[in-house]
Amino acid sequence: MVHANYNIFQQFILLYTPSIEVLQRAAVLFFGISVILLIIIYSNTYIEKRNFLLKIMIQKRMTQWIAEQITTTETPAADIPKRISKILNSKYGKKIITDELITLKKNLQGKEAANIIYLYIELGLKNDSIKKLYSKKWYIKAKGINELYTMDQRDMLKVIYKNSNSKNDLVRTEAQTGLVHMYGFDGLRFLNVISNPISEWQQVKLLAQLQNQQPDNVFYQKLNNWLQSKNDSVVIFSLKIAATKLIHQVIPIIVQNCLYHNNSMIRKTAIESLIFFPEHINTLSLRKIYPTEIKQNKLSILSVLQKLGGQQDINFLKEIILKEEIDIAKSAMITLLKIAPEMINWKEHLLIQKNKVTQYTLHALDEIAFQ
């Protein structure tokens, strides 16, 4: 068999042995491609190295002047030294100065921050950012938005607001971040108009931005509208805002609408948000929706009941333990014991019921008892 294969291989080589000319052409082609690749690699390295050195040189030239301008107690000087003007004449130089000022603005507050903004405008860098904002390339546009909102350029609100529903993910998220950065809770008005989804990550980022702020007294009215939005991600995000900022005025909408929403993710977020309002919630609403819920949401309900539940939920939980599948039964057992620790005596009752659920719930019981 091996011999036969060898013959076939030999015949193949004899048939397809390339002529010397073909081999020569291939070698030339290979050589050509290698040379081109080498040139590309070399020129790229050269450009990177040149830019790096240029950056260091520019930084050295401008550090002292910029630091003096930022720390001055009066208005920074209107006269720009020649060496700085020279830097500003090149695109790369402008980029470096803008990046430096943006980094500084992110680091400083107070008088120094005001001086940074003043310099940004005086050096004509704002106009550059505006040009970037109107660029057709999404990554340049996003950069422009980022620069403008970092420098608190509130006069650009309209254009940034328009981009908050952009088709491009990055442009959209930058615009939304910018609005919240400049206007806090008022900046969230983009939620009225957006039709594109807000990603989970963006929601986390926006919530982090609002971490140290408190909404005004009428904010809940806006939140009520957003909780009924057609955009599912807006509803989920609004639920998260209501929960983190403890806006109890929206509880009726959560209970009446969100708990019965078609989207299971919204229902899950709504269930989990209720845990933040222990004084305003009646567990009846959770017991009502339980039978029709999917497994994941059932587990969420049981987890919420651990904190909100009371004596009125004991029979409901017992029923689940005896009827439901293992995972849910186990979770219900834990909830039951958290609400009513005396139910540990129910173990004997369970022992009489010889079914699978009993065995597993007994494990849960032991775990809890051990804890």
Binding site: Q59, A67, T71, T103, L104, K105, N107, L108, Q109, E112
Partner: protein, 149 residues
């Protein structure tokens, strides 16, 4: 008072330096923590201002080293980190104050001047120097060892 500033951004470093010089402090600086160990050992700064992410040394390492060299050193950490656990770890390592970015330079100066004030009042409370007994009434002892004249 000697202050050592460790920062990775040269302009920010310069800004802090200028503001501290305005307050008549002696300021030493290190970009990205370069040769910071030698600086600490030789200068023996009273205050160190640092960030956590540095190129040549980690912020935690720097704090521990500074505390081992100069136990009384006052360390201010400027950081973006909000996590309570990390801030607690920093304090355990020896950081006295954590300032969150973006920060006010005035706030930084305020903490330093407060520390300076504390330090000077503490020095004043120390036992009197040895020269003082000279002003006390001299005790004359006679050959028999009594104080009686």
């Amino acid at each position: 008072m000697k202050i050592l500033v460790v920062e990775s951004n040269p302009i920010l470093l310069k800004i802090i330096e200028i503001q501290l010089l305005h307050q008549n402090y002696s300021v030493y600086s290190s970009i990205d923590g370069e040769q910071v160990r030698q600086l600490i050992t030789h200068i023996k700064p009273d205050v160190i201002i640092t960030k956590l992410r540095l190129k040549y040394i980690s912020g935690f390492e720097l704090i521990r080293f500074a505390k081992s060299e100069i136990p009384d050193v006052f360390i201010i950490v400027i950081t973006k980190i909000n996590q309570e656990t990390i801030i607690q770890d920093l304090q355990k390592a020896g950081a006295n104050i954590c300032i969150k970015r973006p920060f006010y330079v005035e706030q930084l100066i305020h903490f330093i001047s407060e520390f300076n004030l504390k330090k000077t009042t503490q020095t004043a409370k120390l036992p009197l120097p040895e020269i003082i007994p000279l002003y006390k009434q001299p005790i004359q002892l006679y050959k028999d060892g009594t104080r009686k004249l």
